[in-house]
């Protein structure tokens, strides 16, 4: 790798890293706005035109607040936990192809790396809950650990089917493989399993047991204030965007669409953003509609419904691929 190549890669990383907080900011605003409209209110509309600067005000507030560390807390773990949550959430963006030829790296075991890296995020949650030395935080962390491990299985298994059909583990390759027909059409069951597991993985309603403000008082980040809380929040929304981007990549043909390659691939970026934004909207819509499930329901659903469905999906897709119908 020449120095110029290295510089180019660093530049790409910088652009993505700088853009993510902004996108996350607008994502929180969109969430509050859409939830507001669902509940027949306006949502934030005071800061800037239509409240468009609300996320900036929130960020400034979080940065300028005092960073409190509880006296009984494990100081070291308490401080690094938010960072541990955020880093994997951001690292996943290195693998996602945003447009035709627009990706930071194209790893040939992309799917594997993705599953591995995104699983690391849970350490931050567990450390954060444990280091806080608070009952609620610990309970939230425990629930989070159980939930993420249960749903990671279903998620990984639904990806197995995608990999089988695409014949490659590279995310760029998977997008290329969907040029003809989206995997959404070819394996709707896998799509459903991945979506539901994705919602559980990001701790969103109706699977937000780790936070459950009603019974746990915000769960693992109860004791966090200022930017520690801000980082957890940033990580949560970053992982929502990640999951939506992954749904797009794995099941909706990523950046592909008519004339995707024209104008230096700009339309392809547009398709990708459009598809991802649609799923972010669906996630918010789900949050505004469904009530939180009970903990035993959550576990039962994960192990008794989602996991068998994912296995069935693998079986079906394996059959289809073996018969050569996928082409």
């Amino acid at each position: 790798m020449t120095p110029v190549d290295l510089l180019f890669v660093l530049l790409k990383i910088l652009v993505v890293l700088l853009l993510i907080p902004v996108v996350v900011g607008f994502c929180t605003l969109a969430e509050r706005k859409i939830l507001g409209r669902i509940q027949i209110r306006y949502g934030p509309n005071r800061a800037g035109p239509f409240g468009l600067l609300q996320w900036m005000a929130d960020a400034v507030k979080l940065i300028t607040k005092e960073y409190l560390v509880p006296g009984e807390a494990d100081k070291f773990l308490f401080v690094i936990a938010p960072i541990l949550t955020l880093a994997p959430a951001l690292a996943v963006f290195a693998l996602i192809p945003f447009g035709k030829g627009m990706h930071i790296t194209d790893v040939n075991v992309g799917v594997l790396m993705l599953v591995a890296v995104s699983s690391l995020g849970i350490y931050g949650v567990i450390f954060g809950g444990w280091a806080s030395n608070s009952k609620y935080s610990l309970l939230g962390a425990l629930r989070s650990a159980a939930q993420m491990i249960s749903y990671e299985l279903a998620m990984g298994l639904s990806l197995v089917a995608v990999v089988m059909m695409a014949g490659t583990m590279s995310l760029v390759g998977i997008v290329e493989a969907q040029k003809g027909l989206w995997f959404l059409v070819l394996q709707p069951v896998g799509f459903l399993v991945f979506c539901i597991a994705g919602i559980a993985e990001t701790n969103r309603l109706p699977f937000d047991m780790p936070e459950a403000e009603g019974d746990l008082g915000a769960g693992y980040h109860t004791e966090y204030s200022a930017m520690g809380f801000g980082l957890f929040q940033l990580a949560e929304y970053a992982s929502i965007i990640t999951i939506c981007a992954l749904i797009t990549t794995f099941f909706l043909g990523g950046w592909s669409g008519p004339w995707a390659g024209a104008l230096m691939g700009l339309p392809s970026l547009g398709y990708f953003i459009l598809k991802t934004a649609f799923f972010v909207f669906v996630f918010i819509w789900i949050r505004g509609t469904l009530p939180r499930v009970r903990y035993d329901q959550l576990m039962a659903f994960g192990w008794k419904v989602l996991l068998p469905l994912a296995l069935l999906n693998i079986l079906l897709v394996a059959g289809v691929v073996a018969m050569g119908w996928a082409q």
């Binding site: 409209r37 669902i38 209110r41 306006y42 819509w285 469904l290």
Partner: protein
Amino acid sequence: MIDAIRELVRGFSLTLRQMFTKPITIQYPEERREPSERYRGLHALRNDPETGRERCISCCLCARICPSQCIRLVTSDQGGRKVIDVYDVDLGHCLFCGLCEEVCPVEAVVLTGRYEAAYYRRPETILHKQDLLRHGEGI
């Protein structure tokens, strides 16, 4: 299973429809809620519209009937006429029952539609005679 899916569809379509209805929020400083005709808000002392003089005849019935005793009236005799020197309403005690309004024989003290009763200092929560007269302008 089928029922569950039907319920899900119903729920999601409901929230989707809600998204396109007009919010019921009143944008407070710009828009205001119109209180109803019989709203019992802040007190006011009315003047006689013809003569412009105070209606109150200092009978002190309002101060006597007030269940929370929040009205303080001090009168003095000036050339055979009773004059009100002090008419204080302690909003911190008032429960806005409207008995003062009901008992007033000359309809001098009334409860208006004013509902903005937030103050920075405690002394401000006591309305004095001039405040009450200002509230009563035009009623």
